[in-house]
Amino acid sequence: MRISPTKFISLLFFVLSVFYLYSAYNIQVFAFDENAPFNARTFPIYLGWAGIVLSSLKIILPEKNTIIVNHKHLDYKSITYLVIISLIYAAVILKIGYFISTSLFLFASYYFLGERRWGLMFILSFPFVSAFMYLLHGLLNIYLRDPFLKYIGVMG
């Protein structure tokens, strides 16, 4: 038997709802709140049941329009690169600071998306981020945490 992707997603949602409902029943409430008409568990319990009912209906009822996605036309390679670069960016942003991490993220993203105009890539990364930081931090007075620039004395 072949299960359609929509039904598979609905099945995952069903599992999520069951887990959510289980977690909802395990929310610790104050002793005096235990039998109250409404406590911290009530709304999540309703939601858990709603999720179970809706996903069950989606799984059980016949599918009217099956959505066909041609996976051969999907660019898994580029999206994987972008997600990995984004994850590395998120991991290092606090350690090496906003300016360097963002500039390197932009430069790497341009490269992996197939751009090879090095001059433009450079302008739209390091100077662009500098200008953006000046706009936020210098002109709009929005605090931008950057330990590295603070260390070398560029930012106050």
Partner: protein
């Protein structure tokens, strides 16, 4: 009232205050355009600046920023499908497809005219009906709000799901589930945090909207090998001509604007409802009003579909000032920030504001007209330049969208957990989009989740745990009957399509 209007005009038309409206509208438009930086951020940034001014000037500046940011948010919705605020999510439904068809300039012009008309009409309503309308919103109780939110979520599921009602309702439940993460507002009990301190304050709205719209849109473009640059090339070639709105489109707008203004204003008056519900309901209502041929164009670049939410969200912005100024209850998150600023000035908004500070009450209302004119004059000539954002090639546009998304989140918390979470949600949203699971119901549910739980809590406590509150009050009952009609209509239309 005439005396009040004159007081308001004399205050609002002072050189300083006109300058503040202009600066506010311009700054708001620029900030609102950047995905992740919505009017709340923009107004919050203005609070320290306004302490240097007198209260009416400060409030006028913030009101200008509010309108500007709402328009700026519409711009990023139309051009990038990246709404900075929930009130402009519905704008993207037809604005973005229109931009992709090479009509970005026209879409922005329709948005500007609709915003102007919606804002102006609702400012007139505000002027005439502020005192009596506050009584209407006072008549609403928790069960009515709860029913109204159920109606809003059902309506958005019905109207944005492209015939996939169950999928949309699943997204609603997912949005509500995400909204329950973090501390319970009343008891402070943490829920679904799994001992992770980063989740104690819950998941931020900006994170969810960035992940499910901006970031996932960027990833989808790469994933499907789409090229948004195609539309951009057309815009750059025909940028001046594309701003013009033809006679047929003007007639369509003229039909849409009055009803969306009234709806937007009335929804805006209800505390907590605001621009988001107004824009979604206006979109849904408009879809019901138009003929079958026009209905087919919804979601593909319909003039009605773009004009309705734009009119309604601006009308709701004006409407949200009614509970703020007359009751001291903010009508939206943005007016809540304004309430904080007013309290900082030592002013307590409420029924006595008329008597104690009439110049504040009336000058804010008068500045709304000026703000709308400024927005139109400021934004229309800038449309060809704003539209050029789309001319950025895909290889640059995608990393820049990701950059703005990450920066928006980083600015809020300086915490890389939020960035990881955003990437995770964006990847999931990208796959869900592939199989036509709509994101707008998730967003609206997430925004309303906290308020919905609060109103349900109050309703159940008042009725001692009994579900009687659902039919005890006529307003609640009527709203729920409308909701049931929508659900049955969905079932019926599915059955009709099958047969």
């Amino acid at each position: 009232m005439i005396e009040g209007i004159l007081i308001g005009l004399s205050t609002a038309l002072s050189f300083t205050n006109i300058l503040m409206v202009m600066v506010g509208c311009f700054a708001g438009t620029i900030i609102g355009m950047l995905p992740g930086l919505g009017p709340m951020t923009a107004i919050a940034l203005m609070i320290p600046i306004t302490y240097g001014f007198d209260p009416s000037t400060g409030l006028i500046l913030m009101a200008g920023v509010y309108y500007g940011a709402v328009f700026g948010g519409s711009t990023s919705s139309i051009l990038l499908n990246a709404p900075g605020i929930p009130g402009t999510v519905a704008t993207a439904f037809d604005g973005y497809p229109m931009a992709q068809q090479g009509k970005a300039g026209k879409a922005l012009a329709i948005a500007a005219y609709s915003s102007f008309a919606g804002g102006t009409i609702s400012a007139i309503f505000l002027l005439i009906a502020a005192p009596s309308l506050s009584k209407v919103s006072l008549a609403f109780r928790s069960p009515d709000y709860f029913a109204l939110m159920i109606l809003g979520l059902t309506a958005i599921s019905a109207f944005s799901s492209k015939g996939q009602f169950l999928k949309a309702m699943m997204m609603v439940v997912l949005g509500l589930m995400l909204a329950t993460v973090g501390q319970d507002s009343l008891s402070d009990i943490t829920r679904f945090t799994f001992n992770n301190m980063n989740l104690t304050d819950g998941i931020s709205f900006v994170l969810i909207v960035m992940a499910t719209f901006a970031m996932s849109e960027a990833l989808t473009i790469i994933f499907r090998g789409k090229d948004p640059n195609r539309a951009a090339k057309q815009i750059s070639l025909t940028e001046l001509g594309s701003i013009k709105v033809n006679k047929e489109e003007t007639i369509k707008m003229a039909k849409t604007i009055p009803r969306s203004s009234i709806l937007g204003f009335l929804i805006g008056v209800l505390p907590g409802a605001g621009a988001t519900i107004a824009s979604f309901l206006a979109y849904g209502m408009e879809r019901n009003y138009v003929n079958e041929e026009e209905k087919q164009k919804f979601g593909k670049g319909s003039v009605h579909g773009l004009s309705a939410p734009e009119t309604a969200n601006n009308a709701a912005c004006s409407g949200s000032f009614v509970p703020l100024l007359t009751l001291g209850i903010p009508g939206s998150g943005t007016t809540a920030v304004m309430l904080g600023a007013l309290l900082g000035f030592g002013i307590q908004p409420g029924p006595r504001l008329y008597q104690t500070n009439p110049e504040i009450f009336w000058s804010v209302i008068m500045s709304m007209y000026i703000g709308m004119v400024v927005l139109l004059i400021l934004n229309l000539p800038l449309i060809p330049y704003i539209a050029r954002i789309l001319a950025v090639p895909r290889n640059y546009l995608i990393p820049l969208i990701l950059f703005f998304s990450v920066t928006g989140i980083y600015l809020m918390s300086f915490n890389n957990f939020d960035i990881f979470l955003m990437i995770g949600i964006a990847v999931v949203a990208t796959f869900l989009r592939l199989y036509d699971f709509p994101m707008p119901p998730l967003i609206l549910a997430f925004v309303l989740g906290g308020l919905m739980e609060e109103t349900l809590r109050r309703s159940l406590l008042i009725s001692d745990g009994s579900p009687n509150f659902l039919w005890d009050r006529p307003i609640t009952l009527i709203i729920l009957i409308i909701t049931i009609v929508i659900i049955f209509w969905q079932i019926f239309s599915t059955f009709r399509k099958k047969t």
